[in-house]
């Protein structure tokens, strides 16, 4: 999905590169997609019977995502040279994608805190600290 998005975003710049970057990204995205797409399609078909709302929601989100990618990075602005107009969009998109690891960092820090408290409790059992 990320590679496919990059291919869509970099499409307007295709002519300015000697190497066709969008084609390269699209091929990589398709290859990695084919490896997973069978499982995802199986899942969506099976869940369409069980919970149609959920599958429709997912399909709608994917479609709207692709539509908004095209609208957020309009090739007309990029091709006319007004790239500054959409730098904020790139920045926002990057921020939205990068925000993901923060959740794992937060989770791992809470786990680490739990482990530290457990270790401290264990030490307290072995070596009882004097109460003040």
């Amino acid at each position: 999905m990320v590679l496919f998005t990059f291919s869509l975003i970099s499409y307007p710049y295709g002519s300015s590169f000697e190497f066709p970057l969008p084609v390269f990204c699209a091929i990589l995205g398709s290859v990695s997609g084919i490896l997973e797409i069978k499982r995802i399609l199986n899942f969506l078909i099976s869940s369409l019977k069980q919970s149609p709302f959920e599958s429709i929601l997912v399909i709608f989100t994917i479609c709207f995502y692709l539509y908004s990618i095209i609208n957020l990075f309009p090739s007309a602005i990029v091709l006319q040279g007004g790239i500054v107009d959409i730098i904020s969009h790139y920045f926002g998109f990057l921020f939205g994608t990068v925000i993901f690891p923060f959740r794992y960092i937060a989770k791992s820090t809470t786990k680490l805190k739990d482990q530290i408290t457990k270790i401290l409790k264990g030490i307290q059992v072995i070596v009882p600290l004097p109460k003040l």
Partner: protein, 166 residues
């Protein structure tokens, strides 16, 4: 006794979900009303709320997201905001990550504009444009957020699916 405890935890879970739903409704409603309210203000006041090139004003960075100059800009941005926020919230709710989504949404309103306008305007990358404003920055953040949300959704769901079928 066990049944009573189960009912209690269920009731707590439902209460928590309702609280999250209420928070999202509040955020979406507040954003929409603020955007429309700011649009109805005189252009002089709207210009004060925008981010200006070369001047780093943290409050203006946050208020700039709610400023729009024409109705088409406002309409498309609000529609995009609603069409990205609601499905993403529902997807995150299905995998019990609604709290993470709400925190991320708040970060997109408070941290993202500060970073974006701070870097682009203050460091002078954005020299050709005098003002910075619009909800499209938050919308693009939400579009970017679709990738981790769907990845997490498919990861969780496919794990369950594979354990049943394979």
């Amino acid at each position: 006794m066990v049944g009573l405890l189960g009912n209690k935890t269920k009731a707590n879970h439902i209460r928590k979900l309702q609280k999250d739903d209420l928070q999202l409704t509040l955020i979406v409603g507040l954003v929409s009303i603020t955007c429309i309210g700011v649009f109805l203000l005189p252009s002089e006041i709207r210009n004060i709320l925008k981010v200006r090139h070369g001047v780093f004003n943290p409050i203006a960075c946050i208020t700039a997201s709610f400023v729009h100059d024409n109705s088409l800009h406002l309409g498309t941005n609000l529609c995009a905001f609603l069409f990205t926020t609601l499905p993403l919230y529902l997807i995150n709710k299905r995998i019990n990550e609604q709290k993470y989504f709400l925190i991320s949404l708040l970060m997109m309103f408070l941290v993202l504009p500060l970073l974006n306008y701070g870097i682009l305007f203050y460091l002078g990358i954005y020299k050709s444009i005098e003002y910075g404003f619009g909800l499209s920055l938050v919308c693009s953040g939400l579009v970017g957020f679709t990738i981790p949300s769907l990845t997490l959704y498919f990861k969780r769901k496919l794990e369950k699916f594979n354990s049943i079928f394979f």
